[in-house]
Amino acid sequence: MFSVKRKQFLIFFVPSLIVLAVTVIYPLVYSLIMSFTNASLKKQGFGEFIGLDNYIKAFKDTYFIDSGWNTIVFTVIVVTLEFLFGLAVALLLNRIKRGKKIFFTIIIVPMLITPVAVGLIWRLLLHPDLGIVNYLLGLIGVEGQAWLGDAKLAMMTVVLVDIWHQLPFMILLLLAGLVSLPGEPYEAATIDGAGRFQTFLHVTLPLMKETIVVAVLFRVITAIKTYDLIYVLTKGGPGTTTEVISYHIYKQAYTFLNTGYSSAMSYLLLIVIMLISTLFVRVSRGKPQPR
């Protein structure tokens, strides 16, 4: 009945399709339907169909808008700084000959710690009264700060902790890109008499373009979705200064139990992430070469 090829197709394709359907497609479809209803954890089932009301509500919700703004600020700062530092460290690691493995192992450690543990560790380190950060600052005559308790400082503190945690990821991707670059263009550049900076600008960066786009895109997506670090460090406070969008959605779902509304907000977030991803992919492909 089935040809050998088709049998192979079924054997290899169906199991993965089932897994995909159960773990990805089913929740996606379920939450999409839910986003058009007034579903609540207080009652079973989907609730009543209310059309686009949840989506309209989100645009009128000042807390949603504010948390969106906080998310943009957070994402832009962390991704920019992580990219710049990450590129610098990757270039450095790519050049050094001895002790590379040791440096690399040390640098990669923060990435291996789960975000909740990172948050807890930094809460202890940043304790204004008993933490080591303020103690060390005191030794060099700098006044200790209320890192997480000061509305003006809290976002910057969260940004710093995130950079500490996520920088290795950026270094890892960029370094992988650097290592795999072909040698010929560099030889050609040397023969043409290009300096180090010129080589970096006109050879390394264009060759690295796709790696950079992937690394930055990955970080933009994960930074927009940041939740655990905020949950442990500030709970969105002081006031609403560090309330990011994922934390806001989580509270709507699990404190206010509005699963319909929180699904709608999640879908809005998904749309934004998809738009950004498309933009990045377009940029990475660049303009088509003239024939």
Partner: protein
């Protein structure tokens, strides 16, 4: 090939949707038929990882020996309890036979019909509920005259203070000289904040008048509610209208912010329970409005540097926030008789006393006044009064949401994002809108 792929994908998707819908029902059917009347040999309990849970763990072997029923206690962090409980309670069957319910989930859980009414069990077995402190029974016992829980332990808040600081003759003399009155334990909030600021001013950064906890939503809310209640404020009027933004409330928030800014350690606006506790346990604060059972921890030399130098008193102003947990049986529990058997046992006088002697926080009046318990914990005379005079967070289904809103706005007021009055007006508006 492509067409087949799409058809196949569609079939798999539909089947997976159908199977996901029906699998739950099959599971329910098989579990309920298995449990009916068979008599459970194991009970699963979800509890919070706190000392009182440890004291229960220490005695459960006795229950197993007496009844032949094994008890599995799953102790988790408070933050993950509600999320773990709600899906279980929504299911047709629960994997927990017994749960403990925090007072501000009581309204939500009883309103949703998730808890088994206990009146028939209580009446049949003549379990005496009059032994419980009235304020505990009204909070984590009955709701609208139906018993849903047995009070497990109390966490009424109180003023924990350093006896050596409040009796320091040098400080006392300076206070007398500056304010013309004696430095004693304050009986109103104005005096408390004044003393707090004075101690911080006198001791620079080495000793703060009070350590506070401004992390949203729970720490800041529960701390400020002591200020609110002690200033004569409350959430609602008797007719149910909101009064959380009246003059008493605004005054109490003004005092709270004053204390936070001028007496508490820098950064206290971001402190949770642990950070604040550590500052006090390290000996860097003179007072701490916190749970009364913290005193036992603070008197433990292994956990605190201030052991032997601390005591507990009522919150200045006399009305603190009551808190407590109740034992309950989920309506969808497998074998409710076995669950009740455990509840009856763990809350019997002998076991409740044993837990109290180990350091547990009592809810039964007869345990509070027991000579052995009082001999070990003489401050329970005061704790009993604190509990009796305290107020609770209203028992309404929306209590968690109420605390979330309150915490956010208090934090706004403390961090300068809004004025005290404007923050409280927002709380009042959003509470009134809660469904």
């Amino acid at each position: 090939m492509k067409k087949h792929g799409i058809v196949l994908m569609a079939i798999v998707l539909v089947m997976s949707l159908l199977s996901a819908c029906s699998s739950g029902n099959n599971k329910e059917a098989s579990e309920s038929s298995g449990a009916a009347g068979s008599g459970k040999k194991e009970l699963n309990i979800l509890m919070e990882s706190v000392p009182d849970t440890d004291f229960v763990k220490q005695v459960v072997d006795k229950f197993t020996a007496e009844s032949g029923i094994k008890v599995n206690i799953e102790a988790v962090n408070y933050a993950s309890m509600h999320e773990k409980l709600v899906p279980q309670l929504l299911n047709a069957t629960s994997s927990y036979d017994i749960i403990v319910v925090d007072n501000y989930w009581v309204g939500e859980f009883t309103d949703a019909g998730w808890l088994e009414p206990l009146d028939s069990y209580i009446a049949r077995d003549k379990f005496d509920t009059s032994v419980y402190s009235k304020s505990m029974w009204n909070m984590v016992g009955q709701v609208k005259d139906t018993a849903y829980m047995l009070p497990f332990y109390n966490y009424a808040m109180s003023l924990v203070y350093r006896t050596d600081i409040f009796n320091n003759t040098d400080l006392k003399a300076k206070y007398q000289a500056e304010f013309g009155r004696e430095l004693t334990l304050p009986d109103n909030l104005e005096e408390y904040v004044n003393i707090s600021k004075f101690i911080t001013k006198e001791n620079g950064n080495s000793m703060y008048g009070s350590v506070m906890m401004g992390l949203r939503p729970d720490p800041i809310s529960v701390e400020w509610l002591n200020y609110l209640f002690s200033s004569g404020g409350d959430f609602f009027n008797e007719d149910g209208s909101v009064r959380i933004n009246d003059a008493n409330a605004a005054k109490s928030l003004g005092l709270y912010i004053d204390n936070m800014k001028n007496a508490a350690p820098k950064g206290a606006a971001g402190f949770g329970f642990d950070e604040a506790f550590n500052v006090f346990a390290q000996g860097n604060a003179a007072s701490f409005i916190t749970y009364n059972w913290m005193l036992n921890k603070l008197q433990d030399e292994n956990e605190s540097k201030v052991a032997g130098k601390v005591d507990v008193a009522e919150v200045p102003g006399g009305v603190s926030l009551n808190g407590g947990w109740g034992w309950a049986i989920p309506k969808n529990a497998g074998d409710k008789e076995a669950s009740w058997k455990f509840l009856k046992w763990v809350e019997s006088f002998d076991i409740a006393k044993e837990r109290a002697l180990a350091g547990g926080s009592p809810t039964r009046n007869d345990v509070f006044t027991d000579s052995d318990v009082l001999g070990q914990y003489p401050h329970y005379v005061r704790v009993q009064k604190i509990i009796n005079d305290s107020h609770m967070i209203p028992i309404i289904p929306q209590a968690p949401q109420l605390i979330e809103i309150l915490g956010r706005e208090l934090s706004e007021a403390v961090s300068g994002g809004k004025s005290a009055q404007k923050a409280l007006d927002t709380v009042a508006k959003e509470i009134a809108e809660l469904e």
